[in-house]
Homo-oligomer: 376 residues x 2
DNA sequence: CTGTTAGCGCGTTCAG
DNA sequence: CTGAACGCGCTAACAG
């Protein structure tokens, strides 16, 4: 900048003004000469120095629980779309599913002077995150896909409860009599526990309204024919596995064997579990064709997996765009006004609830795509 | 920092020394008091200010052609592994497959004072990238998965040629008589053109050594039984499509119809084309079971796609680790010495060639995984 | 063993 | 219409 100033024969101040479009009171001549000199010398302002001065770095940080997950990359895509439009840089950290790494990443991002944070927490950091958000003058934080309870900041997630119910309704309508929700253990991952609770509540509701102890799967093997409209007929259970595919296979085999082929639908919590289910079932050959499968999964892959798997697509790109919008509004647009922030976010079907604790809860609707795997 | 200094009653210099471990000549007492004060005040050094001073920001930038691609996220995972170990921050930009955006991203990353760049170019920016690398004192750049010719900087890629040949050998050995390499048009994407050339060269070579105009597929429908060792029998063609799945389906139907069912193997250039092939073939029902399919694709999905698809896995995580190692060596370890850089990188099967133009060419071996889709 | 000084590249008063 | 001077938070001589 000094070089440019010297070349033109003015002071750095004038250059600075030029750069910020404050040429209201600048002679057209100096303006032209500055422009020429800048092009001539290929000068570009140092954002780092600007940031040091202005206390705004124009950078935001994001920590991702597992960046190797394709779901994560879709969310990043959405985040980038919004940030690019506003010329904000994105610092990305992978937490590798380790809470300690996540904490270190957040600290490092703050040290780098990011203006705000997007956190896709690995779980198990609730105390830390709560302390951060309730501490003194924290930089804005928005949680993505996962969150802590009670809410301590804005949060973007799938409409997990409604989506789960929609899927279970579909499974019931297809005539399955027993659903098995397959998931790895919660380990503090809010998404898993919420879906699991939704399943349990659904089954309990059906059980009581349908009469009898449905948790034991009263209606089962004997029934046949068309029960597609009898939603009350669905029993089910939650299968938590952590021992790998062999463990899963043995337990699935037991369930399928007990319930009888052709009436059971497996509902995988995410793509990882979906793959595990696929692998486990691939060796239970005889029964495979008659066991239903569905999952929270990306439509683009579910569609071509095996026979084509019915899925709930979470629209991760839209989730990314939504979380970025929220953060930008809070960080750069003085977003103390919840209503205006909410308005900017609530598009493309996203539902925004402004809570009385001052935080926003943004739900991105999952979309149900039906394929061959849930045809009985 | 000033606050800490004031609290302890020393100067900022002393604090700075403490932070950098230069307490060789510092009284144990002040050391202890500084430590206490830092903890007390929760002080953390401002990396931005440090960078402004030291001309090293401890940040590197990466531009990704399409970050929504799961392949990209795996590469990012690998990059992160190496950067985390050295406490370097990563600025990520998505080019959205647009050369103009890619250029803007690179400029923006440089403005943010990154110490080095990883570029997964979208193609069509050869002139720009070459100008950058050959211009005055560029920050180190390493290209990832794609590159420009002639090489202007270090480069990490799959061993595309060898891998393609390995796959074609496999297809031939399985007894297929005709291979169709399916790809979208090159559009400056080096990976595609290299693989395509490898296919063409392979087929030409087989043609001449096998005798006769094999491009017409001399050996075809008539032959039957075991030809698994007669590799000379493979003919083939390159199918470039840009018109979407319907276009592709029509052209595939023509090829399969002409060649006769059961002898043709489709070789998709990447996962995207693999999905297109799957979708296109899904409606050519009668023939589907008898057409072979293989692709450059991630083993984890190829394995569960349809019947299980034979694939060349590019080990994207390893590619990311490799490119990060190369950049770190060049950027922070004064990597003017090619030999030492190469040594640090050449592990896990990565082959590093130090060229006489001073650039490193690092090839990460693709791994062939055989599944049902190439069983005749 | 520690403090003083100068300045990294820029923005921002204030005084022309 | 423009410039001088100060400071953002930190580091690196050079003095003690």
């Amino acid at each position: 900048m000094g070089d440019v100033a010297a070349a033109v024969g003015v002071s750095k101040t004038t250059i600075s003004r030029y750069l910020h479009g404050e040429y209201g009171y600048m002679s057209d001549e100096t303006k032209a000469r500055i422009e020429a000199a800048i092009k001539e010398l290929g000068y570009r302002p140092n954002r780092m120095a600007q940031g040091l001065k202005s206390t705004v770095s124009n950078m935001v940080g994001v920590t991702i629980a597992d960046i190797g997950n394709p779901f994560s990359s879709q969310m990043l895509k959405g985040i980038q779309q919004e940030l690019r439009a506003r010329d904000i840089q994105l610092l990305v950290s992978d937490s590798n599913n380790d809470p300690a790494i996540e904490r270190a990443n957040i600290e490092a991002l703050l040290d780098a002077q990011v203006d705000g944070l997007i956190v896709n927490t690995v779980g198990g950091n609730d105390a830390y995150l709560t302390a951060y958000c309730t501490g003194g003058e924290p930089k804005p934080m928005v949680m993505l896909d996962r969150f802590v309870r009670p809410l301590v900041c804005d949060c973007v997630a799938t409409n997990n409860h409604e989506a789960t119910v929609e899927m279970l309704d579909h499974v019931a309508a297809q005539g399955f009599s027993h659903v098995v929700f397959v998931t790895r253990s919660d380990r503090g991952v809010s998404t898993r526990s919420i879906r699991r609770e939704a399943v349990e509540r659904y089954l309990a509701g059906r059980g009581t309204s349908g009469g009898g102890a449905s948790a034991d799967g009263v209606l089962g093997d004997g029934t046949s024919g068309d029960v597609s409209l009898d939603e009350g007929a669905l029993s089910g259970e939650v299968l938590v596995y952590d021992g790998g595919v062999d463990d899963l296979r043995a337990r699935l085999a037991a369930v399928v064997g007990e319930r009888g082929v052709g009436r059971v639908c497996l509902f995988a919590n995410n793509e990882e579990s979906m793959r595990d289910v696929m692998e486990a079932m691939s060796e239970l050959d005889g029964e495979r064709g008659h066991v239903g499968v569905c999952a929270f999964a990306d439509e683009r892959w579910a569609r071509y997996s095996g026979e084509g798997i019915t899925c709930l697509d979470q629209q991760p790109v839209l989730m990314g765009r939504t979380v970025a919008k929220a953060l930008l509004a809070r960080t750069y647009d003085g977003g103390d006004d919840e209503a205006s922030v909410a308005e900017a976010i609530a598009v493309d079907g996203v539902v925004v609830a402004a809570r009385n604790d001052g935080h926003l809860l943004c739900e991105v609707p999952a979309q149900l795509h039906i394929h061959a795997s849930t045809r009985l």
